[in-house]
C-alpha cells in the first residue's frame, strides 16, 4: 500500500470516529442546523476545485469542469454557513422581560 493512501485511511477513520462522538452530543433541537453546518464544512471541497481549476492543464474541459465545481461548492460554502447562522439566531432562551 502506498504511504499516502495508508495515512489517508488513518485520517479518514479517525475523523469519522471524531465526527460520530461529537455529533452524538448535539441536541436534537439543533438537528437541522447540524445538517446544514456539516454540509457547509464538507464544502471544503472548494479547496480541491480551486487547485484543479487554477492549475490550468491547458485542457478546456478541465477548466470548464473545475469552474463549475468552484461555483457549486462556493454556493454550498456561502449559503450553508449563512443559512445555519440564520437558523441558530432564532434559538433563544426566555425573553429578557
Amino acid at each position: 500500500m502506498n504511504p499516502s493512501l495508508e495515512s489517508n485511511l488513518f485520517v479518514f477513520a479517525l475523523a469519522a470516529f471524531l465526527g460520530y462522538e461529537v455529533v452524538r452530543r448535539v441536541s436534537p433541537q439543533l438537528h437541522t442546523p447540524l445538517m446544514s453546518l456539516t454540509n457547509a464544512i464538507s464544502a471544503i471541497s472548494v479547496v480541491g476545485a480551486i487547485a484543479v481549476t487554477g492549475a490550468g492543464h491547458n485542457t478546456t474541459m478541465v477548466v470548464v469542469l473545475g469552474t463549475i465545481a468552484v461555483t457549486a461548492s462556493m454556493i454550498n460554502v456561502v449559503g450553508g454557513f449563512l443559512m445555519t447562522d440564520r437558523m441558530l439566531k432564532m434559538f433563544k432562551k426566555r425573553k429578557s422581560q
Binding site: 479518514f12 469519522a16 460520530y20 455529533v23 437541522t32
Partner: protein, 480 residues
Amino acid sequence: MISSYLPVSIIAATAKFLPHRQVMPAYVILIYLAAAMLFALSLKWLSSPKTARWGVLAGEIGMAAAIIATLFLPEVRHYDWIFIAFAIAIAAALPMALLIPMTAVPQQIALFHAFGALAAALVGTAEYYAHGASLGTSTLVAIGFESLLGYLTFTGSLVAAGKLQEILPTQPMNYPFQNVASISVLGASIIAGAMVVVIPANPLVFPIFIALCLLFGVMLILPIGGGDMPTVIALLNSYAGLSASAMGFVLNNKLLIIGGALEGSSGFILAMIMCKAMNRSFINVLFGQVQAGKAAKSDDIYGGNIKSVNAEEVAAILDGARRVAIVPGYGLAVAQAQHAVGQLFELLESRSVDVQFGIHPVAGRMPGHMNVLLAEANIPYDHLMEMDRINPEFENMDVVIVNGANDVVNPDARDNPNSPIAGMPILNVDKAGTVIVIKRSLSSGFAGIPNPLFAAKNCLMYFADGKKAVLDIIAELEKL
C-alpha cells in the same frame, strides 16, 4: 559540468515517480491543520444552543483561511475563472440563504447537498480527464467512489428537493420490478466504475459510468414518499460528505478527508436516529414499499365516536387548564401556522399556564424541522421537548393540542401488534386529560391507516386549517 546537471536530472527522474500534485508548502499544511481543528471545534460548539453560533464562526474562519491558503498554492496559476466562479456563487447563494422562508429549509438543504455533491463529482471527472490512464490504481478507485457518490447524490438531492417543493409528486412513485430495476442500475454502475479502474484509457467507460450514477440517484429517491424524507435527507447528507472525503483521497488532501468524514458520520447518525424513530431499517426505507396494511377499516373505528368542537369550546377548555402540551407535525409547516402557535403560547403563558412542546424526531420533512419553525416563532428552546423527555409528562397534562401530526400520535403503534406501524415510538398524547386534534378532515397520515386516537373518549376533533384554527382559538380565549 556533470555535477551541475546532476540535481536537475535527479529532479527530472524523481518527478516521474512523484504524485502529479506538487508538494504543499509548510504554511499551507499548517493552515489546513488549523482549519481541520476549527471544523471539529465547530461541531463541538453546536452541541448546545448557547454556544452554537460560536460554532458557525469557527467553521467560517476555518473555511476562509483554507480557501485563502489554497489561492496561494504554487500550482494555482490562473485566477480569472476562479474569481468569476466566486462572484457567481456569492450572487446565487445570498438570496438562497437569506430570503428562503423557514418552511422551505428542507428543500434548500437538499439543494445545497446537490451543489456540494456536484462539485465533488466534477472534480473527480476533471482529474480523470486531466491525468487519465497515468493515475495509479488507488487514485482511480477513489475517483470511482467520488463520482459514484457525487453524481448519485446530485440527482438524488435534486429529486428530493423537487418532491419537497412539490414540483414532483410527494407520494411514493412505485412501478413493477422497481427494486430489481434500481439494484440492476446500481450493479451496472459499480461494474462500469470497476472498468474505469481496469481500462482507464478506454474513452467510453467513464461517460457510461457517469450516466449510470446519475440515473441511479433518480431511481433511488423517486419511489420514496414525503414521510420518509427525514431519513432520505439525512442519508443524502451522509453521501455528500463521503463524496467530499473520497475527493480528499484523490487529491491527497487530508483537510478534505476530515471535512467530508465529519459530514459523512453526522448524516449517518441522523439517518439512524430517523430510522429508529420509525422502527424501520435503512433497507426498508430505501427499498420497502409502503405496506397496504391490515389495519381496521376507518369506518369501524370512527363510526359514531368522533366528537367535533369549535374555537369557542376549545377556548373554554383551555381557560381551565394549568398544564398544556402542543404537538406539532408536518401539517403545521404546510399551514404556515408556526407564528399563530407562537401567539397562542404567549397568551397561555401570560395567563400563567405552563406550555410545553412535544416534538417527535420524524415530525416534519427533515431532522429537527419543527424546532426550527417554532424557534422562528420566538418560542424559547427550553420549551421544545424531545419525545423521551415529554412522554412521562403527558399524564400530568390537562390539555394536549395536536396540530398537523397524525401517525406520530397513533396509539395503535404502541397497543396493536398487527398495525403496519407497530413498534414505532409515539408521543403518548392519549394519556393526557383532554386531547384536541386540529385537522382539516379525518384523512389518514403518511402511513395510510386510521388513527384510533381520534375516536378516543378524551379526544375532541377541531376540523379546520391549522393556522386559522389557532387564530380563532386565540380570539375566543382573549374574550374570556
